[in-house]
Symmetry: C2
Subunit: 711 residues, 2 copies
């Protein structure tokens, strides 16, 4: 029986729905004599779980020499016993990678130094960092197996099914970060099987293309066989054919990472681990890299979370949680929800690796509360407490203080009290763990767009690129919506669930490319009565850049072309011109009987139309923006009106203040957010089902403040 | 007689020293009927000047058809009269470029469309934006002359020497932005004289190398003659020779821009303009592009200012003024001061082109006050007021509201009152216009480092690059100093003035390259009793990457090598290891009798030494950092102590609060700054000359607050 589990709604802890409130606690960094006190403090402050890495480098300092319990910093068993005594569950993270500001990111140094054949390589075959491993290299996996042989029995001994505290087991850490952040995707020829007959890469290509002739046509190449194909570096893409080749390699790379994660999971299972398995995506933009992984693991015995930092050094964009950060948290949580998980942030900032810029309590509380407002159901502070030691010389830093709630040397920081207050809020409002966002419309998520920046680094010959559409979703649609009190929810365009969500308009940012099954699903959506908004172009290719005009045919042969007139957009949109940096497109044809809603001023070309199909509606606009001006709000509101969105649940008279409602059906809570550094005022009004006003309230918000009201 | 002038200390307005308090006011955007009211409002609010573009595109809508006064939006003369009536000086900015969110950045569209030969080109010869002109193209300059023929007489008619309000005349706008932001440096072959015998580019090279053989040696090439040399694109640099070729072109480009600015100035003078001429660098990092320009113009009849925005759209790093922004303002003001000007911000944000993210009064006031703390002596809000019109269809936007103090349609925003309060502060403390920063040590500014990112985009084979040294100056030395209450001043390493500034230690961030004259000056500085700190390497090349070991010889043949041991730095620095992302270097030799202050732990190699030379001292440390950890503070403080810096003027117990003192010799003011989004406390103490405590005070600072106290 598992005491810590979940379904897609929330975590279920000791049989009750509630928030996972975990804190990272590195036994190897904190002095052993202070373990108990710091654990008890966290329990008393409302925590219900701790997480710890078990660093491979620490416990196998020389190859084959495994050490557990020989000294304080390796006495992991005592630590687990104390967690049990404190009444805290444990998420155990035994690597192989753990990162954590350790040398070799937590791998044993002997491994990186003595087995250079296992290192990841860029497309040119060069090693880019000697701590970056090629995940599927057989020699690496064999060494991992040796490590798991020794560490897993300890995990089993202290797992909940044996009466212990360990409830979750993580494999690896921030998968792919080690490649993407320090070099490129991994092109290690041995582990990727590049250039080898029946190698993994040629087999992947064979499965995708069937015959080499088809691949040659797709790549505009003359390879004699699949194993003769060499991948191209990301930056080399110039033609559609090159881009296709780069994208194929990316898909293969993500597939390989999924296999790696599956292999690690199987290794745990084979060694008797019955616990749910966890993993954390390195940041919101990497969530979508796990699409293939979820395909393997499902969402019952495995949970993917994400890491939501807002500042780890002065090189980060901002010092505090901003609307941009909130927007990322929003789509990150929504992606995790669409994967089927209760959105969990396995690394929520409990401080920062840098002492400066500082981790201040008001900023941190604001970050936590906005994550709750946007759907977080569980979290793990990274870190709850640091330590003064650099045990066994495995870390860059002597003092791993991390500006945490409890400092390296054991002092309680002002942030501790804030954290305690945050827990009290979550415990008092346990029902929020089941609550859902009350949305006014849906945004269609095309997973391909969200991970296209490697192969859409330039638009090339495409009318509008995948990465541009993804930026439009984030900086245009989402930001304009929230600034106008329209609360969006996200819909998975890869799932037929959208066919059952017809009560609200669906806004899909489009690029030149859209998979055939997505195009078909959108047609079905409209035919069955859905209201669809698309902007700024009609796709004319599928996700592999082959012609695909399902949507275009459905819309009377409508095709998009770049607009050339300097002035566009009909008066109804209250915008008389193109604005700086905005792009617009014209439609070469429109459905018969379509209502024209926008034209290019000089040439009378159609820039937007509305078409009714039975009970369904399509609104198409050849315009995209990053939210900057009131004109963008006008365009957005008018589009939503054309799609019959009706009155919003929330009305807020200050566009810089965001207000959303979460509800479990019985209870509802209004979250009002000032994500700026100056104090602000706002008048907020919430309507119930029949349009009746449920609450109207004036707020005076401090900087970086999230206020809540039960309604 | 000029009523608005300056010296290096401050502006002198109507014979009195004080701040230039100007506001941008576009007559062509504001309804004429409201000109007087808005001008009077600004005067009443404490302004003493307004600035306006006179857009070429507006007044010469068709080639040869010059229109002034035919309609309200072109009635510039009435506007000048009203400025005079209101008692406001005018800074007149007639272009040719004015930017200002106008089509073609303010150039007439007929010019860009009908004369494509004048467009700027990238190194491949491609046009990158059809509104980006090649400044020195003869046809362009001829068209500018026609424009000046018509507009300058109006400027003269209303200039102060004729009893009018115009006191300053600006040429062009944010020079080079039009190239750098939209493409690259300009390689237009005609105007740059590329590939032409006796062309400007070959002549420049001939002057630099004398004989083609020397150039061929420097470039590792075989050109038959100077006019056969083709420039390389910035990104192509792979070898030292290529880098040299890229840098030569950059120097030539900056030289060309200086010539352009000089030509425009001469055009004004020839047409009778007696006013001082102004120009604004596009942002702090572009100030150093004007080194050649100042060589031409001097600082008597010409003044260069800079533009200090912190947010113009959601794509900017932050929404509010942060320490990073303050750091940029600091070095920007110091650069302007070292050029010989009273630091002037010709575009200080009076709002933002985007309505969102918002321009909030607390953030803006904080930005203004930190600029005063760091030396601003004059400013022009961009913009004081916007307008509701898009006159003559010259702008992207109908409503140029700019979130300004007075909105496009004439309403007074909450920011207006804040601006009024800021002016009151400046008027009440007029003496601040003459005040100087009370510094504890000097930072040596090597101009070459500050503009090296085009040719140091990678470090290549260099031990430590120019751009890395520039980052170290900003993110390491300056940030660590301010966080530790050490106030830096900047010293110009190109000037012998450093030889007269020996009362304080001089900290020079070094790269592999340093001009011979700078190396010699530093040797002289030490020999004559100066205390010099250098980190992290001993230069071994001059600014053109030729061997230059003046400093090395002076230091007993000391050379730097990359450190390889994983652990470094002596215990005195209270740092036991290398920290993440930090780099360290060892010295292969040290001066005889040098005191070793740091070693690599594994290999005993020297990482730092101190050497006394007569009364002078050199402290050298093979270590660089971006401020992140307390360890960086320890290293910094210990270096300053070794150089005998003594007690700081200010002591602040909160490292996140910056505190500096400005003084005119008689009066002093303490500025205490919270540049974070959370409220903070600090205890601050200021000492006088004999170390006597002048003030000790506790502060509770709101987010984004700058408090001042007379001491």
């Amino acid at each position: 029986m598992n005491l810590l589990t979940w379904d897609k709604k929330s975590f279920i802890i000791d049989g009750k729905r509630g928030f996972l409130r975990s804190g990272e606690f590195h036994y190897f960094r904190v002095p052993k004599k202070d373990w108990k006190r710091r654990l008890d403090l966290f329990k008393k402050a409302g925590g219900n779980c701790v997480a710890t890495y078990v660093p491979w480098c620490l416990h196998e300092p020389e190859e084959g020499k495994f050490l557990f319990g020989d000294c304080d910093e390796r006495d992991v068993e005592t630590f687990f016993k104390l967690c049990k005594d404190a009444g805290l569950y444990v998420q155990c993270r035994p690597g192989p990678y753990v990162y954590s500001e350790l040398y070799c990111h937590g791998l044993p140094r002997w491994l990186c130094e003595n087995y250079q054949e296992i290192l990841a390589r860029n497309a040119k075959g060069e090693i880019f960092q000697y701590q970056s491993i090629s995940y599927l290299h057989p020699r690496f996996l064999a060494k991992v197996a040796n490590w798991y042989d020794k560490v897993v029995p300890i995990i089993n001994k202290y797992s909940v099914d044996n009466g212990g505290p360990i409830a979750l087991a993580q494999v690896d850490n921030e998968l792919m970060g080690i490649h993407e952040w320090f070099g490129s995707l991994d092109y290690n020829r041995a582990s990727m099987g590049i250039g080898v007959r029946n190698g993994r890469y040629p087999e992947f290509l064979k499965k995708r293309y069937g015959r080499i002739g088809f691949l040659n046509k797709a790549y505009s190449a003359k390879f004699a066989d699949f194993h003769k194909v060499m991948p191209l570096p990301e930056i080399s893409q110039k033609t559609v054919e090159d881009r296709r080749r780069v994208k194929d390699y990316q898909d293969f790379y993500f597939q390989s990472c999924a296999e790696y994660l599956a292999i690690l999971s199987i290794m745990l299972r084979k060694r008797g681990v019955k616990l749910p398995i966890t993993h954390n995506s390195g940041n919101p933009s990497m969530n979508s890299y796990f699409h293939e992984t979820i395909g393997y693991t499902g969402s019952k015995e495995f949970i993917l979370g994400s890491d939501h930092y807002y500042n780890l050094s002065q090189d980060w964009d901002q010092n505090n949680p901003t609307p941009k950060y909130a927007g990322k948290c929003f789509y990150s949580n929504e992606m995790l929800r669409l994967y089927g998980f209760p959105p969990t942030i396995f690394e929520l900032p409990g401080g920062s690796q840098a002492a400066w810029p500082p981790s201040l309590p008001e900023d941190m509380n604001c970050a936590y509360m906005l994550n709750v407002a946007f759907g977080m159901k569980g979290f793990n502070y990274y870190v709850y407490t640091g330590g003064p030691d650099n045990p066994q010389n495995i870390s860059y830093k002597n003092n791993y203080d991390y500006n945490a709630f409890v400092s390296g040397d054991g002092k309680i920081r002002p942030t501790f009290k804030m954290m305690e207050g945050f827990h009290k809020f979550l415990i008092r409002n346990r029902w929020l763990a089941e609550a859902e966002l009350v949305s006014d419309f849906q945004i269609g998520l095309d997973w391909e767009q969200t991970r296209s920046h490697h192969y859409f680094s330039s638009r090339g010959d495409f009318l509008f690129g995948n990465n541009e559409a993804w930026q439009f979703l984030q900086k245009g649609i989402t930001m304009t919506a929230l600034n106008n009190s329209y609360t969006p929810g996200f819909s998975d365009l890869y799932s037929d669930a959208i066919l059952r969500e017809k009560s609200k308009p669906l806004f899909v940012p489009t690029s030149a490319c859209m998979a055939e099954h997505v195009q078909e699903r959108l047609v079905k959506f409209v035919k069955s009565g859905g209201r669809l908004i698309i902007a700024p172009v009609i796709p004319y290719l599928d996700e592999n850049f082959n012609p695909c005009t399902v949507l275009s045919k459905f819309l009377g042969g409508a095709r998009s072309e770049a607009g050339t007139s300097p002035k566009v957009i009909a008066p109804a949109f209250k915008i008389g011109q193109t604005l700086m940096r905005d792009k617009y497109f014209v439609f070469t044809a429109v459905p018969r009987n379509a209502e024209i809603i926008a034209r290019a001023q000089d040439k009378e070309a159609v820039v937007g139309f509305k078409n009714k199909v039975g009970k369904g509606t399509v609104v198409a606009l050849g315009y995209q923006w990053h939210h900057s001006y009131d004109e963008h709000s006008n365009v957005f509101r008018h589009l939503l009106e054309l799609a019959g969105a009706g009155r919003t649940v929330v009305t807020c008279d200050n566009p810089n203040i965001w207000a959303v409602v979460r509800s479990d059906g019985k209870r509802s809570m209004l979250f009002v957010m000032n994500l700026f550094a100056s104090p602000q005022k706002a008048n907020v009004l919430v309507r119930g089902k029949a349009g009746k006003i449920r609450i109207a309230k004036s707020f005076r918000l401090a900087p970086m403040a999230v206020e809540t009201v039960m309604i």
